[in-house]
């Protein structure tokens, strides 16, 4: 793959960059969930690996979070964009070479960023933990080049219209750049106090709300119609979804700071908008499930559909939680507890990951023109991910409620720690299951590239999935 970095754009086979992005994403997923399982082990067994500063939880937490967000999730998005954007415009990617360099610089920048976090150099701002020079690198060498390639491919499309998925891709790449510029202003200009707190959570909220959520949903808008062969149920619901994401997700940052001395009217405004994130969720879930009409057998039979529909269904509890947990009436109880950690994993490891995994399975097989090496390993991957994630989510939700009760009723901290211990072990087991499943996935995709059955011209991978 690296040999193409210096090749002329015309000499690079179409899809090369998507494969690079895809494999990078899987490797980061293995690393990110491995780090997560390691961190969970430290919480379950406090004597596990002590004495080394760079392996302490305080250093490792940020490395795990950033590896997953910018390594796994964002690189899976890059893979989907390099592959789906041109396909929907009946054209080629604007620049395979830019795509390859972008993925290369993404890996370099992320490795550098995680290294400095490991050393203990961080901004102290959650979800924006990288120091300012890494933030600037992410903006200039990672996100903007990705946006340029996506936008230029859409501009050079051979269709008159633009399919729903590409609205989200174009908007997502634009919005993440704005989020990273504005959200990191406290680091560039040393803003402090409430301004810093507000912008920190505006940044954190919108990395999820204007990048991860819409782009993950966009992938489902492609995967479901493509694999089932059904038309998307409603173009109109697509409009409702798209505009409600842009309008409602962009505003509620203050709902992360309901107990902070921000103006109360700002909290009221944000809290209403926070509940209204249910609007895009309703639109998305209804459109995808209605598109499945007549093809529900594929939920059982087809790996990509199973992943996508499962991820789509997770959007329901995700947004029910997200919409209501931020209200004044509920937030006072669960704020600062494991409930929030469970919710964040429902968003990133549940909803969005399941949609992205489907896209990577489908895209990699399609571009490499290779049938999945082992469907059994693919199925094991699905169940390990689902059981592992569910174990994690349920255990952390319970732990969060215990912490909430402990916080409100002023139970001595050590008693809360003891009460939580079984759930911390369950969390570690769930996380380890996810990590193990991802190791299987990496092996399976590697073998697919090396020894997968060739897919004949004009056939889709899922059509051949059960043919031996």
């Amino acid at each position: 793959m690296l040999k193409y970095l210096m090749a002329r754009n015309e000499d690079i086979p179409p899809g090369s960059s998507a494969v690079y992005w895809g494999f990078s994403a899987i490797v980061w997923f293995v690393i990110g969930t491995g780090l997560g399982a390691f961190n969970a082990a430290k919480l379950a067994f406090p004597d596990f690996v002590t004495g080394l500063e760079f392996l302490s939880f305080g250093h490792m937490r940020q490395v795990h979070v950033m590896a997953v967000i910018f390594g796994w999730i964002s690189m899976a998005f890059g893979m989907a964009m390099m592959y789906i954007t041109p396909a929907l415009g009946n054209t080629k990617l604007w620049s395979e070479k830019l795509g390859l360099w972008n993925a290369f610089l993404w890996n370099v920048g992320l490795s550098l960023g995680l290294t400095v976090l490991w050393w203990g150099m961080n901004s102290g701002r959650e979800y924006s933990d990288f120091p300012w020079f890494i933030d600037l690198y992410i903006l200039c060498f990672m996100c903007i080049p990705l946006g340029i390639n996506v936008w230029m491919t859409i501009i050079h499309r051979k269709t008159q219209g633009i399919y729903t998925t590409n609205w989200f891709f174009a908007a997502g790449t634009f919005m993440i750049s704005i989020v990273l510029i504005v959200g990191n202003l406290p680091e560039y200009f040393h803003l402090t106090g409430l301004t810093e707190a507000y912008l920190t959570w505006w940044n954190a909220h919108n990395i999820l709300g204007l990048w991860i959520t819409p782009v993950a949903a966009a992938i489902a808008y492609y995967t479901i119609p493509k694999v089932t062969g059904n038309p998307l149920y409603s173009h109109r619901i697509g409009h409702l979804h798209f505009w409600s994401v842009v309008v409602f997700y962009s505003t509620p940052a203050a709902h992360h700071l309901m107990s902070a001395p921000l103006p109360e009217w700002l909290k009221s405004f944000a809290s209403v908008e926070g509940v209204l994130i249910l609007v895009p969720a309703i639109a998305f879930v209804s459109n995808i499930l209605m598109t499945m009409q007549g093809k529900w057998n594929m939920f059982v039979e087809n790996l990509e559909i199973r992943f996508t529909v499962t991820g789509c269904l997770m959007a329901i509890p995700l947004n029910m939680q997200g919409g209501f947990q931020q209200t004044r009436a509920i937030n006072w109880y669960i704020h600062g507890t494991g409930w929030i950690v469970a919710h964040a994993h429902l968003a990133l490891l549940g909803f969005s990951t399941f949609l992205e995994v489907a896209a990577v399975y489908l895209g990699m097989q399609t571009i490499m023109k290779r049938k999945l090496w082992s469907l059994t390993l693919g199925n094991i991957h699905f169940w390990f991910l689902l059981i592992g994630f569910t174990t994690y989510w349920v255990s952390m939700t319970i732990a969060g409620l215990i912490q909430g009760a402990g916080k409100i009723y002023e139970v001595p901290y050590i008693d809360v720690v003891i009460a939580e211990h079984p759930y911390m072990i369950a969390r570690w087991l769930g996380g380890s299951l996810v990590f193990t499943g991802n190791c299987f996935w990496l092996f399976n995709m590697w073998m697919t590239a090396r020894a997968g059955t060739v897919i004949p011209q004009g056939r889709m991978p899922h059509e051949l999935a059960y043919e031996r």
Binding site: T159, Y163, S234, L240, E264, G274, L276, L278, W332
Partner: protein, 208 residues
């Protein structure tokens, strides 16, 4: 691209625009994907309406506020009563104070924001000092061991001081109303520019 206003719930595009859009919709192949022109289902519309109503009701500023200094005035006063001072320990004293102050409209709030005798001791002098100044105790909130001016910016009183109390309606809600109105108007205009939902594209799938 002309507009037609005679049947806004059906379409806002004139016949020529609609025919042009229909022809494009049928012919266009977006990487092998197609889209239908189904209406937004009624249950989805009702769910969206329900969400909007719920959003305003459930976030009402009445819920989940910090306790005001006024809430604990009676507790602080009770601290100096002889029977409380004669209590065998702090726990017993606090139980007495709680029992003495039951039966007011503050019962639910006091139950939600319980205190210990240590908490009361830490805020007692601050509450007394404010009482001596003659301020409205509802303008102050209790944050941990501090009694501080509440974070609200209400109207000015005739004496020039500002009301620092949670209104049942604040300007955040007003902004929300405008924001939502613009959103729904914009989405309405966008989807109603599409061909009427009585028309469905034929994608060669037959059933649609």
């Amino acid at each position: 691209m002309s507009w037609k206003m005679d049947a806004p719930m059906v379409t806002l595009s004139d016949d020529a625009t609609t025919l042009k859009n229909e022809a494009l919709w049928e012919k266009e192949d977006l990487g092998g994907l197609t889209e239908d022109n189904n209406p937004i289902p009624k249950p989805v519309i009702w769910l969206v309406v329900l969400t909007v109503i719920t959003a305003f009701l459930v976030t009402a500023p009445l819920w989940g506020q910090r306790p005001t200094a006024a809430l604990y005035q009676s507790y602080v006063d009770s601290m100096d009563k002889p029977e409380v001072m004669a209590a065998k320990d702090d726990e017993d004293a606090m139980k007495m104070i709680v029992a003495m102050n039951k039966g007011t409209s503050n019962d639910a709030l006091l139950e939600r924001h319980p205190l210990t005798m240590d908490d009361l001791r830490m805020i007692k002098d601050q509450v007394k000092a404010l009482e001596a100044k003659g301020v409205d105790m509802k303008d102050y909130t209790v944050v941990g061991n501090h009694v501080v001016i509440a974070n609200f910016e209400g109207n000015y009183r005739p004496d020039g001081t500002r009301i620092r109390q949670q209104p049942w309606w604040d300007k955040g809600y007003t902004i929300d109303l405008f924001y939502l109105s613009y959103f729904f108007l914009a989405v309405f205009l966008i989807v109603k520019r599409l061909p009427p939902t009585t028309w469905q594209p034929r994608h060669g799938h037959g059933s649609h």
